[in-house]
Amino acid sequence: METTELLKKLKNIKPDTDYSRKSRMVILSNDLKESRLPVLSFSFRQIATGVLHSGWSMALTAVFLLLAIGSFSILKILTPATTAVVDITGLRAEAQAIDARIELTNIVYNPSADIENKTSTSSITTPNAEPQKATARRTDDEAQQNAADVAGSAKSAPEQPAFGIDSALDILSR
């Protein structure tokens, strides 16, 4: 019987009013924190995460694009049509341009030869024809033009006057 009564008494136990109020406030404030903080962190985090995610997405897209373009060009290079380790036509044109320069250097005006020859004038036609042209010649057409110029210069040599300054002075000194 005592136990039954004791249990009945326990049933009537109530918390201290002050403790009850403080506890409620703590619980409520926690609720508030929990309900507010997620809202705030959600917006910042969402934005930051969104930016990060979109940034990464863009970067990844760029990488994929680069890979796609890169692999495309490599594939292109690898095709036998291009074999672009080298552009053979361009190579040939440049090599021809060098040949033309060698010829030009060999036929450039040599006054000593003129003195020995004593029959032709100290011509200024051959060497001067070339320097007036544009300097850079890198294309096929230009290289061919270069070669043609040299050939033209060589051909023009025999048209020089037969008696030049030095020949005339030689004759006058006798």
């Binding site: 490599i74 290079i77 690898l78 036998p80 074999t83 672009a84 380790v85 080298v86 053979i88 190579l91 440049e94 090599a95 341009a97 060098i98 040949d99 320069r101 060698i102 030009l104 250097t105 060999n106 450039v108 005006y109 040599n110 006054p111 000593s112 003195i115 004038t121 100290s122 200024i124 036609t125 060497p127 001067n128 070339e130 320097p131 007036q132 300097t135 850079a136 010649r137 890198r138 020089q160 006057p161 037969a162 008696f163 030049g164 300054i165 030095d166 020949s167 005339a168 002075l169 030689d170 004759i171 006058l172 000194s173 006798r174």
Partner: protein
């Protein structure tokens, strides 16, 4: 009216400043054939009859030819100077050489101009000595500068060939690396050979530049320039071989 005169004057000035004009004029002014024929005829007449008239005739023709020779020499020098001025020297060292050659040619023109004044007082004997001296002066003064000047023009132009070859080597090296072929023994051997050829071409080029810097004469600058170009040509042979080799590797790997 005044404006038209100015335009015509400007056009004449442009034509006179053009090297083409000097070349064309020099070609005309420097053909002595007719005047030398006249001299031979005057000399024959003097041998037949040593009259005062025939003496004066020969002297007159001689003076005419000497004046023509001086005039032609000035035109010839101006023509060369114009061409040197047009040479596109792309480095300070080349520009300095160019200016020195231009300055030497100015001195030569000055000398010819002073000689012109002496022709009037010459006799037949004096004209012979004068002509011999002028010829000798040309041989030791004009000829060296002329040869250096003309070779320098070609040398300046050759610089872009050197650059083109170097660019081509860089391009090929990069492409072969991209293709993963640069480590191939044969390919790397050919690349090394091309590099070596270009390096030797540059060395020859520096030798030639040094000759121009010193305005050294006589010289073998033409031979050195040809040697430099020949080395560049050899490097192109390497490029062709590289191309062939790379092509073969690529087609075998498929």
């Amino acid at each position: 009216m005044q404006k038209n005169k100015l335009i015509i004057g400007a056009l004449i000035a442009v034509v006179l400043m053009s090297p083409l004009f000097y070349r064309a004029e020099a070609a005309d002014a420097c053909d002595f054939k007719d005047n030398l024929k006249e001299l031979l005829s005057a000399q024959a007449a003097l041998r037949a009859n040593d009259s005062q008239e025939n003496i004066l005739k020969e002297l007159s023709v001689r003076k005419k030819i000497i004046s023509q020779a001086i005039d032609c020499s000035i035109r010839e020098t101006l023509g060369l100077q114009s061409s040197v001025k047009l040479a596109e020297a792309n480095s300070p060292a080349l520009r300095e050489i160019k200016n020195r050659i231009i300055s030497r040619l100015d001195e030569i023109i000055g000398y010819y101009q002073t000689q012109n004044g002496a022709v009037r007082d010459l006799g037949i004997g004096g004209s012979k000595i004068f002509s011999a001296n002028l010829k000798s002066w040309r041989d030791s003064n004009y000829v060296p500068v002329s040869e250096l000047g003309n070779n320098f023009i070609v040398f300046v132009k050759n610089q872009d060939v050197l650059q083109t070859t170097q660019n081509r080597l860089n391009q090929m090296t990069l492409t072969l690396k991209t293709l993963g072929l640069a480590d191939n023994q044969k390919i790397s051997g050919l690349l090394n050979q091309a590099e070596k050829n270009i390096r030797m071409a540059n060395e020859d080029n520096l030798l030639a530049e040094d000759i121009f810097k010193r305005l050294a004469w006589p010289n073998n600058v033409s031979d050195i320039m040809v040697s430099s170009l020949q080395r560049l040509k050899d490097s192109y042979q390497n490029f062709f071989d590289l191309s062939k080799e790379a092509q073969s590797i690529i087609s075998n790997s498929k």
